[in-house]
Symmetry: C2
Subunit: 214 residues, 2 copies
């Protein structure tokens, strides 16, 4: 605990959701236990890496037996904060914002969507999947009256920095940013970017490779 605790490498954290996903599937298939070897084959990683990753958190297995799927799943879920009752707002009620509001996956990861915000008067007051769209002018007052952990930003990039600064100042603890720009802040806020076009360009590079290298 505290700053002296061995910091878990970012690269390990990024792998946890994938473990969580595979364990969910095993659970659904009613598989009770799994060894690092068996899991490594399914996930196409090394058994060593799996054991190393889990051991950053103390090790959840049992020698000679393997891992209890349900226990492992719920423990990784806890590490990722699925049970923390986090809350979120979605800023931007365009197609992307609506896609997110309609997706049940956000709820499944433990997030409750409290509200959406937009600056288009003609849709303010509407509901998307029973989440109300508020005027973006009400951002600060809403955040001050409700505990909002995360702001999901799904608006065009030209307004992103301004809106981000506002929600950060209002006390939000994390931002999930879908816009093609990076948010600058000197406050201690967790920021996670989903740069769709970056993925598209990486894919574009790979297409090229297929053509020219093999």
């Amino acid at each position: 605990m505290g700053i002296y605790e061995k910091q878990v490498p970012d690269v390990v954290i990024k792998r946890l959701p994938r473990y969580y996903r595979y364990l969910s599937e095993l659970l659904k298939m009613d598989i009770k236990r799994i060894s690092s070897g068996a899991l490594s084959q399914k996930m196409n990683v090394t058994a060593s890496q799996i054991r190393q990753d889990f051991n950053y958190f103390g090790g959840f297995g049992q020698q000679g037996y393997g891992y209890n799927v349900e226990y492992l799943h719920s423990t990784i879920g806890e590490i990722l904060g699925v049970k923390n009752g986090n809350t979120a707002i979605i800023i931007g009620a365009g197609n992307l914002g609506r896609a997110l509001a309609n997706h049940d996956s956000i709820g499944k990861r433990g997030f409750t969507i409290l509200a959406m915000f937009d600056n288009n008067p003609s849709i303010i007051g509407e509901e998307v999947n029973s989440t109300k769209i508020y005027d973006v002018e009400e951002l600060e007052s809403f955040i001050s009256e409700n505990r909002v952990d995360v702001a999901i930003i799904a608006i065009p990039k030209n307004h992103v920095q301004e809106v981000a600064t506002r929600v950060i100042n209002a006390g939000v603890k994390g931002i999930l940013n879908f816009a093609y720009t990076e948010i600058k802040t000197d406050k201690k806020v967790a920021i996670e970017n989903v740069h769709i076009t970056d993925s598209l360009m990486t894919l574009s590079y790979k297409l090229n490779l297929e053509r020219t290298e093999y």
Copy 2:
């Protein structure tokens, strides 16, 4: 070239779109040249890394001068295939598919969206941002009649594997997958996943960190 060419590490490729983005901004600001040192400060990486990264492709700079922004921008663009005239289809005309069709960023990265596909009869024939929605049954015939490089999959996960197999068999070279599942194939296809919920969970973990560790 060929399989003997020094393979560029994946981690370098993933950084290229970010360079590209920053260089676009410099271009807009009418900045003609930049040194690795100056760029490193802007992007918050080391100058060493920038020079190493660029040198995987032969080095585009000039000693004592730095890098010509326009040249560097266009060269990285070329590496990423922005000028290859790639084509794409979007499978799924729900909110996410529409968000993608409406976003001009896909076009800016050199992709032309040829068509959208959906299985909902009531929207087939509609146009989204002047892209027509076809019946998903026409997937194969469309791909056989048009050169389709990439399929962007934006449908619920239960149909993803089936649709992916179909487009791969029909000859698509790459897939951008937005569904919360991984596509299996033994064909040589480039697959890039955008797992939004994984990002959300990583963010969730970081929220936790803020609270308990500092």
